[in-house]
């Protein structure tokens, strides 16, 4: 226990300010959290759906929960069921073998819901988007299967870009 406590103490708080344009200083962060509460009446919950990614996008979505980005500390939480979610964070391309599952997850998410398409594959742009367009096994971009509110391009998008995208969706 002692080494653990020592380490926690020495590590300190690493959380960084939110990115430019989304919110920088603490005041802006407070405003944003207020906004989330006002719009949603509570913290934001996200269901992540991998509809056919190369798992690179997932690595960066995982990183959102590291202490530098501290997503949960900002009142944004990943949940296990789409029924508990305000937002679907979807990576792609959408494979034909996942098309039905993605539609079901979308239908199970209560209204009003937000959909954020993640990555060049999910948005159908850039090099990766070109490499993953529709074919016999793939529907291509997320928007070809479910309506999308916000797109976060990148291959994979950095955690900062993801954070910005999630906040942009909430602002809508």
């Amino acid at each position: 226990m002692i080494p653990m406590l020592k380490r926690i103490f020495r590590t300190g708080i690493l959380t960084e300010p939110l990115p430019e344009g989304a919110a920088t200083p603490a005041a802006e962060l407070d405003r944003l959290q207020d906004e989330i509460v006002r719009i949603l009446g509570r913290a934001l919950t996200i269901r992540e759906v991998d509809a056919g990614s190369c798992n690179g996008c997932e690595l960066e979505i995982h990183a959102l929960n590291n202490p530098y980005y501290n997503l949960e500390g900002r009142g944004i939480k990943f949940v296990a069921s789409p029924r508990h979610a305000d937002m679907l964070l979807v990576t792609g391309p959408v494979t034909k073998n996942m098309e039905n599952a993605l539609r079901i997850a979308y239908d199970c998410t209560p209204d009003p819901k937000l959909v954020v398409a993640v990555g060049d594959c999910g948005c159908g742009c850039g090099v990766a988007g070109e490499l993953s367009g529709p074919n016999y096994a793939s529907c291509g971009a997320i928007e070809n299967v479910v309506p999308v509110d916000v797109r976060v391009p990148g291959c994979p998008p950095t955690p900062l870009a993801l954070l910005q995208g999630i906040l942009a969706a909430v602002r809508r």
Partner: protein, 518 residues
């Protein structure tokens, strides 16, 4: 030359990659006999894929790669256009089962007998349409019909099934797990994968080698360097190109950085799955520091598109290397401290020890490679010398120490991951100090030919087979992920454990869905 005293005649593949011998079986009987000899010699079934050669006036071709102690034997077998059938190899190597079924779904060449259930084909295209046949057409517009899958039923009083997925509870790739349980005890797990199948192999056909490099780096994002390197070796061997020594060293440097990044993330997640959130926070922090350094050094957090046929795209100067070595020292100290905390945490050890165990006999039977195999005590690491095997450059000069642990459980996989972080940190320092001078890239003008690249990725052995046409474009490319062999190992590892331990056991392997679904 002959291998294992079998009939097939082999020649050695040129180039500086891991040793590969190529041979051609006269018929299915010869292939089956060779497979049996490999099995007797404790070798492995490394990969299987098929190819449509009818445009060349031939029939179909089956490719089988076997892992031998000395290196890899790549055996091809020609099959007639009319009735392309070959003997089932799954009676020798159970690992062949899913690969053979995928080969049938993709190219339409099938085994005589054996398991005929589809694997990658769910319901998105008809059973008599094969995406990798040249006359297949675009294949768009098929109805996407939901399909049933013939899971093996477990009977008996009180036995019931728990279906999980394809969408799982966490932030993870899709796949379906069918547990047969009595109470909380797992009697059997059967996986149904293929949800990540996005037609990657079909996309390769007709690409130029530069495009192919970008696609191969996006097959499994967590192993982008391993794939890009294996692909580069295959293309360079086909084109007869020699890569500068400095490029080889920089490739190894990226591969070891990739290994450490994944082990750091998984060690954190393993702590978390055993209810130690402290571990997740600490390791995710180290991983973030690590990825930021990769970004500073190579301009990308996962170093995508940095390894290309002909060399690497990014060079490092002395200042960058010094910065990297300094970070190796601090991260090494932190990981050492965290290892002590993990080792001495009774709650954590209670969850890790004896959970999800497999033994070396099973690992051999399943043709398992990589970290999972070494965690059963097997001395199998493509980067390390062993009797009769010479590792490829630059590893042969580095004296890589393979990390093993013979317990075979979650604790062993945790221990191997810790050990591999320290060993890779040592390799990074050695590579930085001894980095050869000279260029990092040469021109890679492709010519017709074929090659196979084998790279020891963080999970295990990544293979890429490439065939270039007369126009220098890709006629066929088959990437093979070590997860093919490791998924069945996971099925065995959860047996007799309890359902709530599944996430922990699963994480200890952390297999790629996309790498095997393609």
């Amino acid at each position: 030359m002959k291998l294992l005293d079998e009939a097939i005649e082999f020649t050695s593949q040129p180039g500086v990659g891991a040793p590969v011998w190529r041979g051609h079986a006269e018929d299915g009987i010869e292939l089956h006999a060779f497979a049996a000899a490999v099995r007797r010699a404790d070798g492995r079934m490394a990969a299987i894929w098929g190819e449509d050669r009818r445009p060349h006036g031939a029939g179909f071709r089956l490719h089988c790669v076997f892992g031998l102690n000395e290196g890899h034997a790549w055996v091809s077998l020609d099959l007639p256009a009319a009735n392309p059938v070959y003997p089932d190899l799954a009676d020798v190597f159970s690992a062949a089962n899913r690969m053979q079924r995928a080969t049938r779904d993709m190219v339409g060449i099938a085994t005589a007998g054996g398991d005929q259930r589809p694997w990658l084909r769910h319901g998105a295209w008809p059973a008599d349409w094969y995406p990798l046949r040249h006359d297949a057409g675009p294949g768009e517009g098929f109805p996407n019909a939901p399909s049933d899958y013939d899971f093996v039923r477990v009977g008996g009083e009180g036995a019931h099934e728990i279906p999980v997925g394809p969408i799982h509870a966490g932030i993870i790739e899709p796949g379906h797990f069918r547990f047969s349980v009595i109470g909380e005890k797992v009697l059997r797990l059967e996986q149904r994968l293929g949800y990540q199948h996005k037609g990657v192999e079909r996309r390769f056909i007709g690409m130029d080698v530069a495009q192919g490099a970008r696609l191969v780096g996006r097959i499994s994002g967590d192993s982008t360097c391993a794939y890009a390197w294996a692909y580069a070796v295959a293309v360079e061997s086909a084109a007869g190109i020699e890569v500068p020594q400095r490029a080889l060293a920089l490739r190894a440097l990226m591969l070891e950085r990739e290994r450490i990044a994944n082990h750091l993330g998984d060690l954190g997640a393993l702590g978390n799955d055993a209810a130690l959130a402290f571990g997740l926070t600490q390791f995710m922090r180290l991983k973030e520091d690590w990825l930021r350094m990769s970004d500073r050094l190579f301009g990308h957090r996962f170093m995508m598109d940095r390894i290309v046929p002909g060399g690497v795209t990014t060079d490092l100067d002395a200042a960058a290397l010094a910065e990297m070595v300094e970070q190796c020292d601090t991260i090494g100290r932190d990981v050492k401290e965290l290892r002590a905390i993990y080792d001495e945490h009774p709650g954590l050890q209670d969850r890790f020890l004896t959970t999800g165990a497999i033994d070396a006999d099973l690992a051999r039977e399943l043709s398992l490679s990589g970290m999972g195999a070494r965690a059963t005590g097997m001395l199998l690491d493509g980067r390390a010398w062993r009797q009769g095997y010479e590792p490829p450059a630059p590893y042969k000069a580095l004296g890589v120490r393979p990390i093993t642990d013979d317990r075979g459980d979650v604790a062993a996989r945790v221990a191997v991951r810790f050990g591999e972080i320290f060993e890779s940190l040592r390799l990074l320092r050695a590579l930085a100090v001894g980095l050869p001078t000279g260029p990092v890239r040469v021109d890679c003008a492709p010519t017709a030919g074929s090659g196979l690249g084998v790279v020891e990725g963080w999970r295990g052995e990544v293979l890429v087979g490439v065939e270039l046409g007369a126009d220098g474009r890709i006629a066929r490319c088959h990437p093979h992920d070590p997860s093919w062999q490791a998924w069945p190992a996971l099925e065995h590892a959860v047996m007799k454990d309890i359902v709530p331990d599944f996430p922990l056991i699963n994480k200890s392997f952390n297999l790629s869905y996309t790498g095997a679904d393609l």
